[in-house]
Symmetry: C2
Subunit: 218 residues, 2 copies
DNA sequence: GGGTTAACATGAGCCAGACTCATACATTTG
DNA sequence: CAAATGTATGAGTCTGGCTCATGTTAACCC
């Protein structure tokens, strides 16, 4: 699995102990996100639960956003790993199956991964409204980049699946599809803790319908 | 125009002076959102720019979220007003024209209305991840309700347009469409200050394509 | 007018939470 | 063993959301 999460940490943990600590902090961050949400999440509480002094917390994470961003990136890696693994298992006969697979994996992760329903890598704090243009290290950019990564990954898979790229606009189309799916699934998980099944179905519907205009029926 | 914004304010301004003050605070809030984004926006600065003491600010707005929520609701009213006005002007021959009209109006508002590209009524702070279930006065609920209002409004228009409701699932479908469009347009305005035209076009594409599965071609 | 009362306005200050930094500790190196 | 270099710590700073005691205006009554 490629290491996507470069550049999030203030200092990279070198020893085993530090590494475990960072993992613990991320775990507790995820659990706290489920319990109280992003706004009410405090760095002190994360540190307390992870049994790490606050000073050490700030040795590794630049700030609260950085913490959540690091978590989102860890989740992104997990997602890409799962998708890749699943693809190795099954033989897909057409792209609609891939849509279902991707969405099912995403939903499964939302259900199983603490904090993931609150901040997945798609939206990571994009929303509370970073200004349209701002410093390079904004979450905003991270969120965009993340969906670019997912879309790109899906493009690779799609191209492999179809044999050759069909539509030169495929990149943008996939990006839009990912963004839209992300939003609808977010909604599904806001409606019900395990995700409203009807909305999840509707999400697949939406994506399939949209992509069918750009991909061959086969 | 119906007054949607009930219940946002701590106290409703009665006299002319208070009313102007509240408007000024909302205006400055909008401008600040464009400048620094939601997180960096401070109630002190809003009050300072509106030339209102901080105490007075809190006489009217319950908190920072309440301020932004009030702004979002004011924008929602404006949007519904504009849509209604436009519909009175033009004669629509089919529902695809309505999709274009609604999206165009939305885009026009994003361009013209300060702060609207940062927090429109669709997402209003839903994202930074309130916990899935939490107190009644959460922004989250507000955001959901707002899109419900828009979807409902569009349903009314659609039903009028078509003569009779076609699909019993129309409500959910429209809701999903609004949510997806919202996300893609948000993206378009993150990419370019005035909204990436190609993404805007793609948004219309997405919605039309999706709805065409549920609405008659005519 | 004068006096009483109720509504409104004000900003110094409280408090919580993000983040720092001086100090203590450990670990490596000559 | 001493110096140097890295690492750990939590008391403390600072900023920003929000309050509340006090001052001010307006409304009302005699």
């Amino acid at each position: 699995m490629t290491n996507v999460s470069g550049g999030t940490l203030r200092r990279r943990p070198a020893q085993r102990r530090s590494l475990e600590r960072v993992e613990r902090m991320l775990d507790e961050c995820a659990r706290l996100l489920d319990e109280v949400g992003y706004e009410a999440l405090t760095t002190k509480e994360v540190a307390r639960r992870a049994e790490v002094p606050i000073g050490t917390f700030y040795q590794f994470f630049p700030d609260k956003q950085g913490l959540v961003r690091a978590l989102a990136l860890r989740n992104l890696e997990a997602f890409l790993g799962r998708i890749t693994a699943r693809l190795a298992e099954v033989r897909l006969s057409n792209w609609t199956e891939m849509v279902d697979l991707a969405i099912d994996e995403f939903v499964a992760m939302k259900r199983a991964t603490p904090g993931f329903a609150v901040v997945d890598f798609g939206e990571v704090l994009a929303a509370p409204g970073g200004p349209v243009v701002q410093g390079t290290e904004r979450m905003l950019d991270a969120a965009l980049e993340n969906n670019v990564i997912v879309a790109d990954r899906l493009r690779t898979i799609t191209v492999e699946l179809l044999g050759a790229p069909i539509d030169p606009e495929l990149d943008r189309v996939l990006f839009v599809a990912v963004e839209a799916a992300d939003a609808v699934l977010k909604l599904a998980f806001r409606s019900l803790p395990d995700g409203d099944p009807e909305l999840i179905a509707e999400c697949k519907h939406l994506v399939r319908r949209y992509l069918s205009a750009h991909l061959p029926q086969e």
